[in-house]
């Protein structure tokens, strides 16, 4: 995307952006909660969360609760900063159109 040089490509993906936005306002969230909120498929959601994890934007914790596997995700400090920078860049690119 040549017109958008300042936008972080990891954050820019629709689903990844949605996931970072969701995680930015909770302490931690289960995979199933993220799936319910985004209505994404298991495979797509897992792949996008893995990309965010590899970029260091989300941290994952896997554990067992009442013998059932539970995967918890939380946004990292660099993930929070990446989202904030993305929003700032977005607002700069949109300029006055942002409030219309």
């Amino acid at each position: 995307m040549p017109d958008l040089p300042e936008l972080d490509p990891v954050v820019h993906g629709r689903l990844r952006l949605a996931l970072l936005s969701l995680l930015s306002c909770v302490e931690e969230a289960e995979f199933t909660w993220l799936r319910a909120k985004t209505k994404a498929t298991d495979g797509n959601l897992g792949a996008q969360l893995l990309k965010l994890e590899q970029a260091g934007y989300v941290a994952v914790e896997k554990k067992f609760v009442r013998r059932k596997p539970q995967t918890l995700y939380r946004i990292t400090e660099s993930g929070r900063q990446a989202l904030a920078h993305y929003v700032q860049a977005l607002r700069r690119l949109l300029g006055p159109a942002v409030d219309k």
Partner: protein
Amino acid sequence: MPEDTTELRERLSIIESMIAEGRRSTESWGSTFVLWGVAYYVAMAWSGWGHTAWAWPLTISIAVVLTIVLAFSKTRSHARTTLGRAIGSIWIALGISMFLLFFALGLTGRLTDRHLFVAVISAILGMANGASALILRWKVQLGCAVVWWAAAVATCFGSDTQSVIIFLVAIFLCQIVFGIYGMIANTQGRARQAPLHA
């Protein structure tokens, strides 16, 4: 570059809608309100017609067990938020207070002054609804708190029958109607969501 602007606007709207979605309570709490409304009706009818001191302690105990079962059935998919914990703490503290108070009062047979009973229970429910409404800045729930507070004051001035009617009306408005409203709002919120793709 109108397409780019549209796409960028869409990104902003994704951020806004997802943040709003994340802040929305994940629990379908409406059913819990209805459950407790029905529990109050059952306990009142049982204690009134059955003339037993066990009506309130037993009904409240059953309602507590059902609430715990409902809560556990919803923990399969959740997100933890500070706001959620604050609201949850208020209602857990209310549940413990009500359980201990009415269990002890019921067992010792001191639930005889109907005015005092309705005033106390209404004031406690007004406090919990008011605190929750102020945290969430939610006018509908603040309306429920006002109804409970009005019921607490009004019952002190009315007759025995008027006191019962005031309590029944407050339960209907603030538990049954508010609970059903919550269930409908929750269902509509889920239906509005569109699937997101990468």
